[in-house]
C-alpha cells in the first residue's frame, strides 16, 4: 500500500514546476480575455446594479423604487410575453432544424454532404444587418420577389403583414433562424464529426438502422453541443433588440417601440431619461438569463462533458 502511494507522490512532485509554467501560459492566454470581460462585461453589470438603486430624481438611494417602476410599467408584461412567444416558436425551430440538417449531412458524408453544408451555411454568411435588409425586401409585397405569395394571401403592405402580433413573432423567428442556422450547423456538424468511427462501426455491427444511429448514438453524444446552442440562442432571443427595432422602422412604427424588454429599457434610458429604471430592467434580464443559463449548463452537463 505504502509502496503504491510513494511513486504517485513523486510524480506529483515532478509535475509541479511544469504546472506552474503551464498556469503562467494559461494566464497569458486568458488574461486579455479576462480584462475585456471585466471592462465590457462585469464592470457595466456592476454599474447597472448600482444605478438600479439610485433615485432618478434626487440621485440618492432609492431602495426598490426603480424595480417597482419597471415591474408596474404597462409594457413590462407585454414585452416579456412577446419574447416568451418568440422563444417558444424560434428555439424549437432552431434545435430541430439545425440538428436535423446536421444529422442529414453527417449521414451523407462525402462530396454531396459538403456541398449541402455550404448551401445551408450561405444565408448565415450575410452579416446580421444585411440579412435583415434582405428580409425587409422579402416582406414588402410591393417589391418582394415572393410577391405572388403575399398577393395570394391578400397582403398588400408590410404594415398589413405585421399588424397581427403573431405574424411579428413568426417573421422574427424566421429572420433569426436564417441568420443563425448556417453558423450553428457548422458547430453541431463539428460535434457530430467528433463521434469516433469505432462507435459508429460498433453500432452498425450491432445492427443499428440509420434512424437508430442518429437517435440513440449520435444525439446523446452531441447533447452538450445542443445545450450550448439552446443556451446561446436563448440569451440572444431573450435580450433581442435590434431586430424588432429595425422592423418597427421599416413598418412605419406599427410595432410598439417597446416590443421587447430590452427596447423598454432603451426607452427608459434614452427617451424618458430614467437611467435607474433602465438599469433595473437590465438587472432583471441579467438575472433571468444567468439563472436559466446555469440551469441549462447543469442539466446537460455541458462543462464536464465538453
Amino acid at each position: 500500500m505504502a509502496a503504491a502511494v510513494q511513486p504517485k507522490n513523486s510524480t506529483r512532485l515532478l509535475k509541479r514546476p511544469r504546472r506552474a509554467r503551464q498556469s503562467g501560459h494559461t494566464l497569458l492566454l486568458v488574461g486579455p480575455y479576462f480584462i475585456a470581460l471585466l471592462l465590457v462585461g462585469a464592470l457595466p453589470a456592476v454599474y447597472a446594479l448600482i444605478q438600479s438603486f439610485i433615485s432618478p430624481l434626487g440621485g440618492g438611494f432609492a431602495g426598490l423604487l426603480n424595480y417597482q417602476t419597471v415591474l408596474t410599467n404597462f409594457r413590462f408584461i407585454a414585452s416579456f410575453g412577446n419574447v416568451g412567444l418568440l422563444l417558444l416558436v424560434w428555439l424549437p425551430m432552431m434545435v430541430v432544424g439545425v440538428v436535423g440538417l446536421a444529422l442529414l449531412i453527417d449521414a451523407a458524408r462525402g462530396r454531396f454532404g459538403k456541398f449541402m453544408l455550404f448551401i445551408y451555411y450561405l444565408p448565415g454568411a450575410l452579416a446580421g444587418m444585411t440579412n435583415f435588409m434582405l428580409w425587409l425586401l422579402i416582406l414588402d409585397p410591393n417589391v418582394s420577389p415572393i410577391r405572388f405569395l403575399w398577393n395570394a394571401t391578400g397582403q398588400t403592405s408590410i404594415d398589413g403583414i405585421l399588424a397581427s402580433p403573431m405574424h411579428v413573432v413568426w417573421v422574427l423567428a424566421a429572420m433569426l433562424f436564417y441568420q443563425g442556422a448556417g453558423s450553428w450547423l457548422l458547430i453541431i456538424y463539428g460535434g457530430l464529426n467528433s463521434v469516433s468511427d469505432e462507435v459508429i462501426e460498433a453500432a452498425r455491427i450491432d445492427g443499428c438502422s440509420a434512424w437508430q444511429m442518429a437517435w440513440r448514438v449520435k444525439l446523446p453524444i452531441i447533447a452538450p453541443w445542443i445545450g450550448y446552442l439552446v443556451l446561446m440562442n436563448f440569451a440572444y432571443g431573450f435580450q433581442i433588440f435590434l431586430e424588432p427595432q429595425v422592423l418597427a422602422t421599416a413598418a412605419q412604427g406599427i410595432l410598439s417601440p417597446q416590443w421587447s424588454p430590452n427596447q423598454l429599457s432603451y426607452t427608459y434610458a434614452y427617451e424618458v431619461g430614467n437611467t435607474g429604471a433602465a438599469a433595473a430592467l437590465s438587472v432583471i434580464l441579467l438575472v433571468i438569463t444567468l439563472a436559466l443559463g446555469v440551469l441549462i449548463i447543469t442539466k446537460t452537463g455541458m462543462l464536464e462533458r465538453s
Binding site: I54, R75, T156, T249, Q252, G253, P257, E271, G273
Partner: protein, 438 residues
C-alpha cells in the same frame, strides 16, 4: 478556493468603489451655470437644412460655423439621450439645433433637460410680431419663447380640380359636407378615395383641428386626455362612416403603397407641403390637376390642424459673443429672404416672407390647377391652426401608428379601437412622467 475568492474580491472591490464613485458623481444634477463664450458656432441640422447653413456662412463670413448633420427620421429617439449625457458631462450641447421632430421641443425646454434658451427678451419684438400667433404657438412653453418656427404646415383641403370639374362637384367647406361628398363619391365613383388614415400625421390631420384633447396641457407636467370628448367622437364617427364606405384608405402617408392610392385620391385634408412633396414628387400626379382651398372646419369651431413645420432652438449654455452669433444665426435662417424665399422649399412661418415665397413657389409654378386659390388658402390656414394642441413628450400621432393602425389593418373600426387608444395615451403620458386627468 479561499485564495480564489480573495483574489476575486481584490479585483471586484476596487471596481465597485470606482463605479460607486462614478455613480454618485454623475447622478447629481450638473450645475449648468458655466457657459461657453467663444469658439465656432456648433449647429445641428437635418439634411434639408444644409443649404440654410451655407447661406448663413455666405452672409456672415466672419462667423465660423461647424455643422453636424443629424438623423432626420421623424421620432429619432436617440437625440434626447444625447442631451441627457451632455447634461451629465456638462458640455457637448450644440449652440443651435433644428429639431428633427417637433415634439422634441417638449423635453428640450423641460426643467429636466433645460437646453433651450429663453428667447423672449433676446429676439427683437419686431421679429416675434412677424409670426401669426397660431404659427408661433408651438414655441411658447410656459409663457416663454423657447424656439423660432422655421416653416408652417397648416392643413388645407387638397383636391383634384380636374376630377371635380368632370364630375360636377364643388369643394366642401365643412367636415359634414366632406363626409356627404365622400359618401356620394363612394356611390358614383367606387374605387376612389377622399382620405388616408394609416401611419404618419393622421391624428394631426383629422383630430388636431377638431379640438380633440389627446394631450392638452393643463399645468406643468399635467395633461388632460379625454378621447370621449365630442370634439374627438365627431371625427371618429365621420371617419368610421367613410371607412365603411371604403373611401378612406388605411395606407401610411409615406408608405410605398400610398402612391397607388394617390392616383385615385379625389380630395384629402393635408398640410401645405403636400402639394410639392406628396402630389408632385412622391405621387407624380401630373401638373394642372391639383389645387387647394381653405381648411375644412366644424360648424362653430373655425380651426385646422398642422403636420410638422420645423423648429429652431438655441442653447441656454452660451453667453456673450457666442450667444449673439447664435441669435444672428436663428434670426437669419427663420426670417431672412436669402434663405426663406430664395432657398426654403417649405412655406415660411415668418409672415413677412410669405408673399415673396408664394410668388416664387406657387404663383409662378405651373404645377397647381389654380395657383391663386392655393396661395390664398395657405395664407388663410396659417392663422387657423388650433393652439390647444401642444407638443408633449408623448406623441398622440406616434401612438396612433402603434395602436390604431394595426387595429384598422385587422378590419376593426375606429370606435372599436378608441378605448385602447385612450388607455395607451394615458400609459405613455405616465411613462414620461405626466400626471393625467381623464
Amino acid at each position: 478556493m479561499r485564495l480564489k475568492m480573495s483574489a476575486l474580491l481584490g479585483v471586484v472591490m476596487p471596481m465597485l468603489l470606482l463605479v460607486a464613485g462614478c455613480g454618485s458623481g454623475s447622478s447629481t444634477p450638473s450645475a449648468n451655470t458655466k457657459t461657453v463664450q467663444a469658439g465656432p458656432l456648433q449647429v445641428w441640422v437635418d439634411a434639408p437644412r444644409v443649404s440654410a447653413v451655407k447661406a448663413f456662412e455666405k452672409a456672415y463670413p466672419k462667423i465660423k460655423v461647424q455643422m453636424n448633420i443629424i438623423n432626420d427620421n421623424i421620432g429619432n429617439d436617440a437625440l434626447r439621450g444625447k442631451f441627457e449625457l451632455f447634461n451629465k458631462s456638462g458640455s457637448g450641447w450644440p449652440d443651435v439645433i433644428f429639431f428633427p421632430t417637433n415634439s422634441d421641443i417638449s423635453w428640450a425646454s423641460s426643467s429636466q433637460i433645460g437646453y433651450t434658451a429663453n428667447l423672449t427678451n433676446l429676439v427683437p419684438k419686431s421679429i416675434q410680431n412677424g409670426y401669426a400667433p397660431a404659427a408661433i404657438a408651438a414655441c411658447k412653453v410656459g409663457g416663454k419663447l423657447v424656439c423660432l418656427r422655421n416653416d408652417d404646415a397648416a392643413d388645407v383641403l387638397w383636391y383634384n380640380a380636374k376630377l371635380f370639374k368632370e364630375w360636377g362637384y364643388t369643394p366642401p367647406k365643412t367636415w359634414p359636407q366632406y363626409e356627404a361628398l365622400g359618401l356620394k363619391i363612394a356611390k358614383q365613383h367606387p374605387g376612389y378615395y377622399v382620405g388616408i388614415i394609416g401611419s404618419d400625421y393622421t391624428f394631426d390631420r383629422y383630430f388636431w383641428g377638431s379640438g380633440c384633447p389627446a394631450n392638452q396641457l393643463v399645468g406643468a407636467n399635467k395633461v388632460k386626455i379625454d378621447l370621449t370628448s365630442p370634439n374627438c367622437t365627431r371625427m371618429v364617427n365621420l371617419l368610421d362612416t367613410l371607412l365603411k364606405a371604403k373611401v378612406v384608405s388605411t395606407v401610411g402617408l409615406f408608405s410605398s403603397q400610398s402612391k397607388a392610392v394617390a392616383q385615385k385620391l379625389v380630395m384629402t385634408p393635408g398640410a401645405t407641403w403636400y402639394g410639392e412633396f406628396e402630389f408632385k414628387d412622391a405621387w407624380n400626379i401630373p401638373a394642372g390637376q391639383i389645387t387647394s382651398t381653405t381648411p375644412l372646419t366644424w360648424p362653430g369651431f373655425p380651426y385646422t390642424g398642422d403636420e410638422g413645420g420645423g423648429l429652431w432652438g438655441m442653447s441656454s449654455h452660451i453667453s456673450g459673443k457666442m450667444q449673439q452669433n447664435a441669435l444672428k444665426f436663428i434670426e437669419f435662417v427663420t426670417t431672412n429672404p436669402k434663405n426663406q424665399v430664395a432657398l426654403a422649399p417649405t412655406f415660411p412661418a415668418y409672415g413677412p416672407d410669405d408673399n415673396a415665397w408664394l410668388q416664387k413657389n406657387v404663383l409662378s409654378s405651373n404645377y397647381f390647377a389654380d395657383p391663386a386659390q392655393v396661395a390664398a388658402s395657405f395664407k388663410q390656414a396659417i392663422k387657423m391652426v388650433w393652439t390647444g394642441h401642444p407638443y408633449t413628450q408623448f406623441d398622440p400621432d406616434g401612438i396612433w401608428d402603434t395602436t390604431v393602425v394595426p387595429a384598422l389593418e385587422q378590419g376593426k373600426t375606429l370606435a372599436q379601437v378608441w378605448p385602447t387608444y385612450q388607455k395607451d395615451l394615458v400609459n405613455y403620458a405616465q411613462l414620461y412622467g405626466y400626471s393625467v386627468t381623464q
